[in-house]
């Protein structure tokens, strides 16, 4: 317990707490407008009050309340995108590495292609053709993730499948599916966990960037990236609208990256070059 990265863990816990208990932390609505209260500054600035700690936006909505609910959006998107994108990558990595041969070289070609092409372009296209929403953003971010997961997991599988217990399982007559599920999968889970943690930051930034570009979760649902975008035109008169959510994004991403680095050093030092 001694070397736990306490600062990142604290930031992550605060974010989880904000996201999970968002409705109970505040009496304001993240969506309902209250125009008489619009553009109030944070409490430490002149004209601010402790009723709105981080001030209010152009529609009079409490910035702190929207931050809480935005954390919730980030958490949901992160969990689902990692589940879908990471899961697909894990599956393809295992099959590609274990089966090998033609299938492996075909799959790895596709992975190379996916890595070489900026997925944001497909994400934007998806937002326009399928419409903005949770489903679109999960698909878009999964497209970004799967290839990275598949490439690393496959490398790991190549090493694992040469082990004696895999050979023994084959001699015993285990089917390839069974070997992959019971002998290969458990041995790449460490790597998978490290990859998941290292990609939380990637997903949060991707979601924020898409929301900033008007291709994320549609307004009025608060998302940190959307909040920065909404404050863009008001940067000279109401800096808190865009700068505060940005601090939240940076802190959380930093915390997850540092935690991921720590976890990787503990569980899987081979992955250091990632």
């Amino acid at each position: 317990m001694r070397n736990l990265p306490w600062i990142p863990l604290t930031i992550i816990s605060v974010m989880l707490f904000m996201g999970i208990f968002a409705p109970f932390l505040t009496s304001y609505s993240p969506i309902d407008q209250s125009l008489p209260d619009k553009l109030l500054p944070p409490f430490w600035e002149e004209g601010g009050s402790i009723k709105h700690l981080f001030g209010t936006d152009i529609f009079g909505r409490d910035v702190l309340t929207r931050l809480y609910h935005g954390a919730r959006v980030s958490l949901i998107v992160t969990a689902l995108a990692l589940l879908v994108g990471g899961g697909v990558g894990l599956l393809i990595g295992i099959v590609s590495g274990y089966v090998g041969g033609r299938l492996d070289s075909l799959l790895m070609r596709i992975v190379d292609a996916a890595l070489a092409f900026p997925t944001i372009l497909f994400a934007l296209l998806l937002a326009v053709t399928m419409g903005q929403g949770l489903r679109t953003i999960i698909i878009a971010i999964s497209l970004l993730l799967w290839a990275r997961f598949a490439r690393v997991v496959r490398g790991e599988v190549l090493a694992v499948k040469e082990r004696d217990y895999v050979a023994l399982a084959k001699v015993h007559g285990c089917s390839p599916a069974r070997i992959m599920a019971t002998h290969i999968l458990p041995n790449v889970l460490n790597t998978f966990m490290v990859l998941l943690t290292l990609h939380v930051g990637v997903v949060i930034v991707a979601e924020a960037s898409l929301s900033f570009l008007g291709a994320g979760i549609p307004p009025p649902t608060p998302s940190w990236g959307l909040m920065v975008a909404e404050g863009r035109g008001k940067i000279s008169s109401a800096w808190w609208l865009s700068l505060i959510p940005g601090v939240a994004i940076t802190l959380v991403v930093l915390a997850f990256n540092l935690f991921g680095d720590w976890l990787r050093d503990r569980l899987d030092p081979k992955l250091r070059q990632l």
């Binding site: 092409f117 944001i120 372009l121 497909f122 934007l124 296209l125 326009v128 053709t129 008007g214």
Partner: protein
């Protein structure tokens, strides 16, 4: 060498076909592409005319052939918003992007190469710690937010630099820093780690034993080899650069392709977005091909392999 380049070219062509196919099918995923291709105020006659030109009443494989043959001839339709051919708009905006992207890359190289080398040479030293912190922060800070912080500090508070649009030299400073930061962080970490590997290798030890000066060892033996991983991971940087360009140009209202992409998204200008994506894909593949050739030039193991 020739075989290597041909192979890369072939892979590029396959990727381009793949991207085109995906773009084509995504446009048809949600029902009738006529609804996507036409502006909201289009008349029934416009609609019929478009169905005719795109062959939308024909079977899907014929539509695909029409799409490809139009694309090859440079006809990707008209923008809803500008009412002019999308390809023309793309080329009118391209030069503006080509002005800040190289500037950001030069900034990244000027900062990342010396810092990467110095932090590898004096591992754990002050420079190493400083550049490590910069790298960690640079990776965690989203570009769009960094851009706005810079605007707030240098334009709003200090009033030193303009916050938006094109103009003289001072207009380039903030967009270049915003776009360059992402690259600086990545390059620096990569150069540092590959320099560390190489400093530890046999041929560097030999060079040192031979009594070569430290400068020669670092510049001639190490740096060239340390740059190889940067080129290998070029694709990953490219993705970041495209995202970065879209976001940076949006923040600074810079009239390049990035901003054009953003406009196409918020105005739901499908023909424009489709064209931007296809043209971007073509451009990216050309750049990747050039990087591959450069890569072969730097690394004799590829240049001389047959």
């Amino acid at each position: 060498m020739r075989r290597y380049i041909l192979q890369r070219l072939w892979q590029g062509v396959i990727l381009l076909v793949l991207v085109t196919t995906i773009v084509f099918f995504l446009g048809r995923l949600t029902g009738n592409p006529a609804d996507l291709m036409l502006p909201e105020d289009a008349t029934e006659e416009d609609r019929q005319a478009l169905i005719e030109t795109l062959g939308l009443d024909a079977p899907i494989h014929e539509q695909f052939i029409i799409f490809i043959s139009n694309a090859v001839r440079g006809d990707l339709g008209d923008s809803h918003r500008y009412r002019t051919p999308v390809v023309e708009i793309f080329f009118s905006r391209l030069p503006n992007t080509l002005m800040i992207v190289p500037a950001a890359m030069i900034l990244a190289i000027l900062m990342a190469v010396p810092l990467g080398i110095l932090s590898a040479l004096r591992r754990g030293g002050l420079i190493d710690k400083f550049s490590g912190t910069i790298a960690v922060l640079g990776i965690a800070t989203p570009n769009f937010w960094l851009g706005m912080v810079l605007i707030y500090v240098f334009s709003v508070q200090l009033g030193w630099l303009p916050s938006a649009r094109m103009g003289g030299f001072e207009h380039y400073v903030l967009p270049t820093i915003t776009l360059g930061t992402f690259l600086v962080a990545g390059f620096m970490r990569l150069i540092r780690s590959s320099m560390l590997d190489i400093l530890d290798s046999e041929f560097v030890k030999l060079a040192r034993i031979k009594g070569m000066s430290e400068t020669t060892v670092v510049w001639k033996h190490c740096l060239r080899n340390a740059l190889i991983p940067v080129l290998t991971l070029w694709g990953v940087f490219m993705g970041g650069l495209v995202t970065g360009a879209i976001v940076t140009e949006t923040v600074f209202a810079w009239p390049g392709i990035g901003r054009l992409t953003y406009e196409a998204v918020i105005f739901r200008d499908y023909p424009l977005l489709q064209a931007v994506i296809l043209m971007d894909a073509l451009l990216i593949l050309l750049i990747n091909l050039m990087v591959d050739i450069l890569y072969a030039y730097i690394d004799p193991r590829i240049r001389l392999a047959e």
